[in-house]
């Protein structure tokens, strides 16, 4: 059976002043369905580049990438975007909620982009507001929320489409410890529900909470050790 993610010899480089700068080198990585993986490494190691490749935000790589059994490199842009819409969701360090939209409208947005009928959208948004305990905040704008609350909304927005793979780029990086803890608990809960999670983090303790850590250095996978 295929894993959720299979990267085979994936490489990524940028042309710079007549030569190339490599940001990912010969990446071979399997992530099983329902696995929780942490990606670590110093700045410039290629963590975000790897996340971009996994999230299909970047297409100029070489190698092979299978997501849930589908060979990504063989898809045209339209099908790739459809696959991304179907399977993947993102959480960012700085939340990136849309400032001009209220909390419930931020949650509604991914469903709109998937052409979900409005009644169904309202029901799903209502469920999620309830589940994440943010019903009271639904009519507030992001700038009226604390950082932790904003990240909570961001995670809710990410999971409202029931993705198979959640990519989290330093989800606790901008939060103080108690808020960060709450978000990590939430990610664990989602993982227990069967969601595959890949988080990029600098936080050794939070990285250790994952089932496996992948350590990058200068674009190479230094180690892909299971949690001990």
């Amino acid at each position: 059976m295929d894993p959720m993610v299979r990267l085979v010899d994936v490489e990524r480089s940028y042309p710079v002043a007549g030569s190339r700068v490599w940001v990912l080198r010969h990446i071979n990585l399997d992530i099983g369905a329902g696995e929780f993986v942490s990606v670590m490494g110093p700045s410039g190691a290629g963590k975000s580049s790897l996340l971009n490749v996994l999230g299909m935000m970047d297409h100029d790589w070489t190698g092979r990438y299978k997501l849930d059994g589908v060979a990504v490199e063989k898809l045209d842009a339209k099908r790739r975007q459809a696959l991304q819409r179907d399977k993947i969701a993102f959480v960012f360090q700085h939340y990136h909620l849309i400032d001009d939209l209220k909390v419930w409208e931020n949650l509604d947005l991914p469903l709109q982009y998937r052409d979900v009928p409005s009644k169904e959208r309202a029901a799903q948004v209502g469920d999620l507001l309830d589940r994440f305990n943010i019903v009271g905040k639904k009519d507030l704008y992001p700038n009226q929320l604390s950082g932790g609350q904003q990240q909570l909304v961001a995670v809710a927005r990410a999971v409202i489409t029931r993705p198979r793979l959640l990519l989290a780029d330093e989800p606790t990086g901008a939060l103080h410890s108690s808020q960060a803890r709450a978000i990590m608990d939430l990610l664990h809960e989602l993982n227990r529900g069967g969601m595959t999670i890949v988080q990029v983090t600098h936080n050794e303790a939070f990285a250790a909470e994952a089932q496996r850590s992948v350590r990058l250095f200068d674009g190479w996978i230094e180690s892909a050790a299971p949690r001990t």
């Binding site: 975000s48 580049s49 996340l51 971009n52 999230g55 935000m57 970047d58 842009a77 975007q81 991304q84 819409r85 993102f90 960012f92 360090q93 700085h94 990136h96 849309i98 400032d99 001009d100 939209l101 947005l109 991914p110 709109q112 982009y113 998937r114 052409d115 409005s118 927005r157 489409t161 780029d169 330093e170």
Partner: protein, 804 residues
């Protein structure tokens, strides 16, 4: 649909969140759209809207070919009109109107009106019935029939307070009793701005009367335009065979009556104005696109997030377009308000001009709304599509790193720079056009007509040909007028004559030395007028050689003339013209032969600004006309004498009121009113384009500084002096400005030439105009970048390095 509403809602919120930015873009687009809607309203009124007559498609106008002032045809005389009616009998109902000054006097209040001598079937042919009373009947136009008249609705209200008992009342028309038989409907005038109509007697075999008739015809059922045209061709061929000299070099044509609203010159001017407003709209769109582009770049991360949340490229583009659609809707509302104000101004200015057809209406109707909606849609797409497409490209390609700064900024900046260069070029071209027009009008105002315009009061008078039927009668009245004026202690000299130098109330003739064969080639031309012996003193003109008119020049004495120096240079063959004889209109058997007795300095009888044309003066006693100009040279303010001149005229002939009582600057101003209206319109367009270009530069500069705050901070921290920072930040803007100005000059000079050629043969753009336009734009650019400059210089390195 739901998605569109969501996008519009988001766009509305974004506008509320950044009201200044939204107002700037809506203002920018509103200014451009206002110009376009203004022009569309004018085009609709002049060209697109059907004439306010019954079945206007059946109506034609016919006449000699040329720029006759009412469409592209010249009028015919009453002899030709009578023949044309006979030829077209059964094929078309032919009517005609000869414009004329008509004096209406009753209740001791004589007043001069624009009127027309018309065929009795004119209103029937137009399909317009009187609002009150009856229409003219054929009997009213029979020789010896009791005199009758019809009034316009506005005259009926202004003079008689809308009193219905006016029907059947006797008034005096040109001093003769006439009965008012009808009042025409509100807003009806024909052919231009007439208030009074009297029937003409058009009978074949009679000599031509004094009026020039504009001919209209309503095709009979089953008759095509070609049938009418062929019949008119047959008439013309027969008439030319019978009287070859009179028709030599002329052609005859029929065209839709709708052409009378906008002749060739008007259509050319409208075309130039339309081109100008399209340029302004393009500048607006480029500007708004630029502002939206810079703002979209500021939203790059948000757009990347939307992509990460699953937004397709199409949805992203729709989302961004929604903003420009919303802003364009606001802009359109602003534009309609501005355009309405502009149209009201234009209509008020045009209604003061002599030949403005009062029945033209300039309203924002369904046609204008439809065309304006098209323009607005174009604007929304032009302003929003480029930023949306660019954003669609980069958002899909962007990465998710927080604080990623260089998201496709390079290509964005390139597009933005190109747009600003385009804006500057368009503004520069428009400013050169404006400058050329203003300078041309200034030159006309300052033109040396060959007279001394200071302390000169002028007026016109039209004598009743019934009260003063003979030339001797009319001359006697004119002599009394000038005599009475000169008796006043305030008056230096006074003269009565037919011309008014610098206007178009002068006779135009071809001329050859007496005895020379005219052949078929184009003959030398001149303007002439008949004046009394006091012309030189009243107008301040100097005699250069020979003599001026005096008591020797009687109606029955030898026909003489005084010519100006241009005549001597053009027709003198290097010798003196004194004592030589010249034939006016040598192809016309009735053309006069005159002996030159004197030469004066160059005199411009026609409107200034055109090609210099020789002038000839003839004694009033030998060429008297029932309409004349009065010129009074006063010791003090000429306008202070205006009431006195009126009183004197009233004493001499109470039925002949003076009109157009003006000093000379007003005379020249009125004769160039069309050019002034166009110059003002272009001035407004140019000012808007200038403001838009400045706003565009400002927007780009502000954006540049904000994007480079950290870099500026680093440079400052490394010890860069202010001038180096400024040179670095604004060097590229100077290059943009330079390229834009160069392109603008290259486009503006030929454009200005096209524009001025369609007007008064004004000179094209010169160095002063080009330098002026460049200075204005450089100054505007300086102002536009002043705020960002201050901001760049005040960047605190410590703060800047914390930026983002």
């Amino acid at each position: 649909m739901n998605a569109i509403l969501h996008d519009l809602r988001d766009a509305f919120r974004a506008s509320l969140k950044h009201p200044g930015f939204a107002a700037l873009i809506a203002g920018v687009l509103g200014a451009g759209l206002a110009c376009v809607i203004f022009m569309l309203t004018l085009l609709d009124g002049f060209i697109l809207r059907p004439l306010p007559f019954a079945k206007p498609d059946e109506l034609l106008q016919a006449g000699f070919h040329g720029d006759g002032g009412l469409g592209d045809v010249f009028p015919v005389d009453s002899r030709d009109l009578a023949q044309i009616r006979r030829y077209l009998a059964g094929k078309a109902d032919v009517a005609a109107a000869g414009r004329s000054t008509i004096n209406l006097s009753d209740m001791d209040r004589p007043e001069r009106y624009h009127g027309a001598h018309v065929t009795s079937n004119l209103f029937h042919v137009l399909g317009v019935a009187p609002a009150l009373g009856r229409d003219f009947s054929d009997d009213d136009a029979k020789p010896g029939a009791p005199a009758v008249t019809m009034l316009s609705y506005s005259l009926w209200h202004a003079r008689y307070g809308g009193d219905a008992s006016i029907i059947g009342r006797e008034v005096r028309v040109d001093g003769q009793p006439a009965t008012v038989i009808g009042v025409m409907p509100k807003d009806f005038t024909y052919p231009r701005n007439e208030d009074l109509w009297v029937p003409s007697t058009i009978v074949e075999g009679l000599p031509a009367d004094a009026y020039a008739y504009w001919v209209i015809a309503r095709r009979s059922a089953g008759i095509g335009d070609a049938d009418v045209a062929n019949t008119l061709d047959s008439w013309f061929a027969d008439a030319a065979r019978a009287d070859p000299n009179r028709f030599l070099g002329r052609t005859f044509r029929a065209e839709p009556l709708a052409r009378m609203a906008a002749d060739r010159t008007t259509r050319g001017t409208l075309g130039s104005m339309l081109a100008a407003v399209v340029m302004v709209l393009l500048v607006s769109c480029a500007n708004a696109a630029n502002l939206l582009l810079t703002r979209t770049l500021g939203r790059s991360q948000e757009l990347a997030v939307r992509v990460a949340l699953g937004a397709s490229r199409r949805r992203l583009i729709a989302h961004l377009l929604a903003e420009s659609v919303l802003l364009t809707l606001s802009a359109t509302a602003i534009a309609f308000v501005l355009a309405r104000a502009g149209v009201a101004w234009q209509q008020s200015v045009m209604s003061q001009t002599e030949f403005y057809p009062q029945w033209l209406r300039f309203d924002i109707d369904a046609t204008v709304l439809l065309l304006a909606s098209g323009a607005a849609l174009f604007t929304a797409l032009a302003a929003g599509l480029l930023p949306a497409l660019r954003a669609g490209d980069f958002a899909v390609a962007s990465d998710l790193r927080d604080g990623a700064r260089s998201v496709a900024g390079g290509s964005f900046a390139r597009v933005s720079r190109v747009l600003v260069v385009g804006e500057i070029a368009l503004s520069c071209a428009l400013l050169i056009c404006v400058g050329t027009l203003v300078r041309g009008i200034g030159a006309i105002d300052r033109a040396d007509l060959g007279i001394e315009p200071a302390h000169l009061l002028t007026a016109r008078v039209a004598l009743s040909t019934h009260a003063h039927p003979t030339a001797a009668d009319q001359l006697h009245v004119y002599e009394r007028i000038s005599q009475r004026m000169r008796e006043d202690a305030e008056v230096v000299d006074a003269s009565v004559g037919t011309p008014l130098p610098g206007t178009f109330y002068n006779a135009f003739h071809e001329v050859l030395p007496a005895g020379a064969a005219p052949g078929t080639a184009t003959l030398p031309q001149l303007y002439s007028g008949a004046v009394d012996a006091h012309f030189l003193g009243a107008y301040g003109v100097k005699l250069e050689s020979g003599r001026f008119f005096d008591s020797r020049d009687r109606a029955d004495s030898e026909k003489v003339a005084v010519v100006d120096r241009k005549f001597v240079e053009r027709l003198g063959d290097g010798a003196s013209v004194l004592g030589r004889r010249f034939r006016l209109d040598p192809r016309d058997p009735d053309g006069a032969t005159v002996t030159i007795v004197g030469v004066i300095g160059p005199l411009t009888l026609d409107t200034p600004g055109g090609q210099p044309t020789p002038a000839m003066l003839r004694p009033l006693s030998q060429d008297v006309f029932y309409i004349a100009s009065i010129a009074v040279r006063t010791r003090g303010d000429p306008l202070a004498f205006a009431t006195r001149i009126d009183g004197i005229m009233h004493e001499i002939d109470a039925d002949a009121p003076l009109y157009w009582v003006r000093d000379y600057s007003a005379v020249i101003r009125d004769s160039t009113v069309s050019e002034r209206v166009i110059a003002k319109s272009f001035g407004v367009f140019g000012a808007i384009a200038l403001a838009l270009a400045a706003a565009g530069l400002y927007g780009v500069m502000v954006f540049t500084v904000s994007r480079r705050t950290r870099e500026i901070g680093v440079r400052r921290a490394l010890g860069a002096p202010a001038r180096r920072v400024l040179a670095n930040v604004f060097g590229r803007s100077a290059l943009q400005l330079g390229i834009g100005l160069a392109l603008g000059v290259l486009a503006g000079i030929p454009l200005a030439r096209l524009l001025t050629q369609s007007l008064q043969d004004m000179p094209g753009a010169d160095l002063v105009v080009v330098l002026g336009a460049l200075c204005v734009l450089v100054a505007a650019a300086g102002l536009a970048v002043a705020v960002p400059v201050r901001r760049a210089l005040r960047v605190d390195p410590a703060v800047a390095l914390r930026h983002e």
